[in-house]
C-alpha cells in the first residue's frame, strides 16, 4: 500500500518564525529587522528583496490591491524547504522570509526576503534563488482587485 502521509525530514536550520503574516509588511518592520542583526558581527553583507504591489493595468482597469490566500501549512513547509536549500547551496549566516496574506494595497510590501552572509558574493545569488523558488513553489494565490471593484486572479510569469 502506497504510503502517502507527509513525513518530516531532518533539518539543517531550525524553523524560526512563521513566514506568513497578516496584512502588508511595514517598512518599519524591515528597518527593525536590519537593526536586529547589528549584533551579529560576523555578517558583512545583507541583500534585501521587497515585493511591492504594483498598479498593473488590466483591460484598461488599474489594480488597487491584491488579496492573498494560501494553503498555509503547506506554504510554511515549502518556505522551510526553500530556506534549507538556500543554506545548503550558499554560505549564509542568516536568512528570513516574510509573506503577506490578506489585503495588500498598491505601494505596500507583500514579500520581504532578507539574506545575510560574511561576504557579498553569496547574498546576491542566494536572494535571487529564494525569490524565484518562492514564486514557483509556494501555494499562495492573489486576487488582483481592480478600480471598478472587479477582480482577476494573479498569475506568475518569469518576469513578474
Amino acid at each position: 500500500m502506497e504510503e502517502n502521509k507527509n513525513t518530516s525530514t531532518s533539518s539543517v536550520s531550525k524553523k524560526t518564525h512563521k513566514v506568513i503574516q497578516q496584512g502588508a509588511i511595514s517598512p518599519l518592520f524591515v528597518a527593525d529587522s536590519i537593526a536586529k542583526h547589528s549584533h551579529k558581527t560576523n555578517i558583512g553583507a545583507h541583500t534585501i528583496f521587497l515585493g511591492q504591489v504594483r498598479n498593473d493595468l488590466i483591460d484598461g482597469k488599474e489594480v488597487t490591491e491584491i488579496e492573498y490566500t494560501a494553503y498555509e501549512e503547506m506554504a510554511e513547509n515549502e518556505f522551510h524547504l526553500i530556506r534549507e536549500e538556500a543554506f545548503a547551496k550558499y554560505d549564509l549566516t542568516c536568512m528570513h522570509i516574510y509573506h503577506s496574506i490578506g489585503k495588500v494595497k498598491v505601494g505596500e510590501i507583500s514579500l520581504f526576503v532578507f539574506v545575510s552572509a560574511k561576504h557579498r558574493v553569496q547574498v546576491f545569488d542566494a536572494c535571487s534563488y529564494i525569490v524565484d523558488q518562492i514564486k514557483k513553489r509556494v501555494p499562495i494565490w492573489g486576487k488582483e482587485i481592480l478600480n471598478d471593484g472587479s477582480f482577476i486572479w494573479k498569475t506568475n510569469t518569469p518576469s513578474n
Partner: protein
C-alpha cells in the same frame, strides 16, 4: 468509514463558493476527480495540480482515512 477532505483554493474556491468538501465514498484520486468534474464541470477547463497531505502528486493514489487532498491552481506568491 473512509472520510477525506478536499480543499479548494484560488479560483476553484471562488467558483464553487467553498474551500472545503468532505467526502466519504471515494478511495482513489481518480474517483475524487470524477466526482468533482461531475459536480463542477467548469473544473475541466481549469489548470490545477493535486496535493495529498501537502505533497503534490500526479499519480492515482489510493487514499486512506483522514487524507487531505488539495486542488492547487497555478501559484501567484511573491
Amino acid at each position: 468509514m473512509m472520510k477525506i477532505s478536499v480543499l479548494l483554493f484560488g479560483n476553484l474556491a471562488q467558483i464553487t463558493g467553498t474551500n472545503k468538501i468532505e467526502l466519504e465514498e471515494y478511495t482513489t484520486i481518480e474517483e475524487v476527480k470524477d466526482y468533482l468534474f461531475d459536480k463542477f464541470p467548469t473544473f475541466k477547463t481549469h489548470v490545477f495540480v493535486i496535493a495529498v497531505n501537502q505533497k503534490i502528486t500526479k499519480e492515482n493514489l489510493t487514499l486512506q482515512n483522514s487524507d487531505e487532498i488539495a486542488l492547487l491552481p497555478p501559484f501567484a506568491g511573491g
